[in-house]
């Protein structure tokens, strides 16, 4: 066992047990209630708006890769892309996907192609609309802003891991009058999206969006498991506060670094 990682392992295993338990419970028919998220409801509205205006949709799954601590955001963005692609295909609305990370490109192509296939509109799928722009951050930013300016989309989706380019995209989208739905778990970019976009999906909501579009008990059950995980986290925080207040700071430190 690597030193200092026992507590992390215990937390990980507890969370895994809670999530799988919740998924099993949902599979047995006990689907959890999901509260409404305005940003999620607005996704269909945004696609509909683009359709009415006869304008395309621009989708950016962020600039994070598939691995590391921000990789999950890219997977969440691809999950949402699957729904957006299917709905855009049903509405006969053009969808332009802008990619920064080369490894994400074949996955995004497959996700979009499957979306068109599910909608029975595979003939409308244009591989040139899933575009790799550049792996350099600001070259990608310039590319996305250029596409927004030229194509004048009716809606933009900025979902995934974003850094300094977040506000550039959001401001350009705002300037061209697009309905903007943005979401990231990158803490320092959330406020930019809140300031400049119509709807913002904050932090963990990004990972929950997929469940809203699906009756799949696995996705819905996992959301319920996450809530139990948060309750456990709150319990641990309260226990830590009590222990620290009554002189047990060393004990807390020992447990955390066990």
């Amino acid at each position: 066992m690597r030193s200092g990682r026992v507590f992390v392992l215990v937390c990980f295993l507890t969370l895994a047990c809670v999530i799988f338990f919740s998924i099993n419970r949902a599979r047995k028919g006990k689907l959890p209630y999901l509260r409404k998220l305005p940003g999620v409801d607005a996704i269909r509205e945004a696609i509909g708006r683009s359709t009415e205006l006869g304008k395309p949709i621009v989708y950016s799954p962020g600039i994070a890769g598939l691995s590391g601590e921000t990789g999950a955001q890219t997977f969440a963005a691809l999950e949402i892309l699957s729904y957006v692609a299917k709905t855009a295909a049903e509405y006969d609305t053009r969808l332009i996907v802008c990619i920064r990370i080369p490894e994400v490109l074949p996955i995004a192509e497959e996700v979009v192609r499957t979306g068109y296939l599910s909608a029975g509109k595979i003939e409308s799928y244009d591989p040139n609309d899933v575009r790799f722009l550049s792996s350099a951050q600001f070259a990608y930013a310039a590319g996305v802003m250029g596409i927004m300016e030229r194509e004048r989309p009716g809606a933009t989706f900025l979902l995934g891991g974003f850094w300094a380019e977040s506000l550039m995209f959001a401001e350009v989208g705002n300037a061209i009058g697009a309905l903007q739905i943005a979401g990231t778990a990158n803490l320092h970019q959330i406020q930019f999206f809140v300031a400049a976009c119509d709807y913002t999906i904050i932090g963990e909501e990004l990972f929950a969006v997929g469940a809203y579009f699906s009756e799949d008990p696995i996705k819905r059950g996992a959301i319920s498991g996450q809530d139990i995980g948060k309750l456990i986290a709150v319990g641990l925080i309260i226990a830590g506060v009590i222990l620290t207040t009554f002189g047990g700071a060393e004990t807390v430190d020992k447990i955390v670094h066990w």
Binding site: I19, L78, I107, S214
Partner: protein
């Protein structure tokens, strides 16, 4: 096969990397650490192949732009010429060669800096809209931001001596509490999604519902 192979590969690779994070098992080339490192090296190789695919996508798209003489087609010509020239220089002379470094430093770096500097204008326009006190929430944001800015700017302390300490309190307590809430929620969400992908319950990324 199209479904099973990626799922099994994801599971095996994911389990090895997770186990390596927690445990030190085996020695030398039979250790978890060795396998984990090898997997991460393979990731780089796969990424290199993906870069090739991405370059093909990029060239295909811009060749179509040029052929159809779409608006701004000459930009596509510039892109393809730059891509080809930089690739030839990089492959033949190396990325550390003076010629490659010259073009990199003389072209890409200033353009990158220019794009980045646009952010200052975007921040100003976004702040103008965000700080309009249209409702109670926006008014709270405006007042809080004003106090924090006052506390962070040298002139703030001259105007109001307590401004830095009030700004620090806002950043260290209410702000930090909110940030940590988002971080904990996001981390749990990421673990949940990661676990579903690991055991093959989540396959949307493979193009499957």
């Amino acid at each position: 096969m199209k479904k099973e192979v990626p799922t099994i590969t994801t599971f095996v690779v994911g389990v090895i990397v997770i186990l390596d994070y927690f445990f030190q098992l085996g020695t030398g080339t039979l250790s978890l650490e060795y396998f984990s490192r090898e997997i991460q090296n393979w990731m780089l190789i796969v990424a290199a192949f993906a870069m090739g695919l991405a370059a093909i996508n990029l060239i295909r798209l811009h060749v179509v732009q040029i052929r159809q003489r779409k608006t701004g087609w000459y930009n596509s010509v510039a892109l393809i010429i730059t891509l080809v020239v930089m690739s030839i220089i990089g492959i033949s002379m190396g990325t550390d060669s003076p010629l490659y470094r010259y073009w990199y430093n003389a072209l890409l770096v200033p353009i990158d800096a220019t794009i980045f500097s646009l952010l200052a204008f975007y921040i100003t326009s976004a702040a103008y809209r965000a700080f309009r006190a249209r409702n109670f929430d926006a008014a709270v944001l405006l007042v809080t931001a004003f106090i924090v800015m006052l506390g962070r700017a040298p002139i703030g302390e001259q105007i109001w001596s307590s401004a830095p300490s009030v700004a620090n309190w806002i950043m260290d307590y209410p702000n930090m509490a909110g940030q940590r809430g988002i971080i904990i929620g996001s981390a749990i969400g990421a673990v949940s999604l990661g676990l579903r992908i690991l055991v093959g319950m989540e396959r949307t990324y493979l193009g499957q519902d």
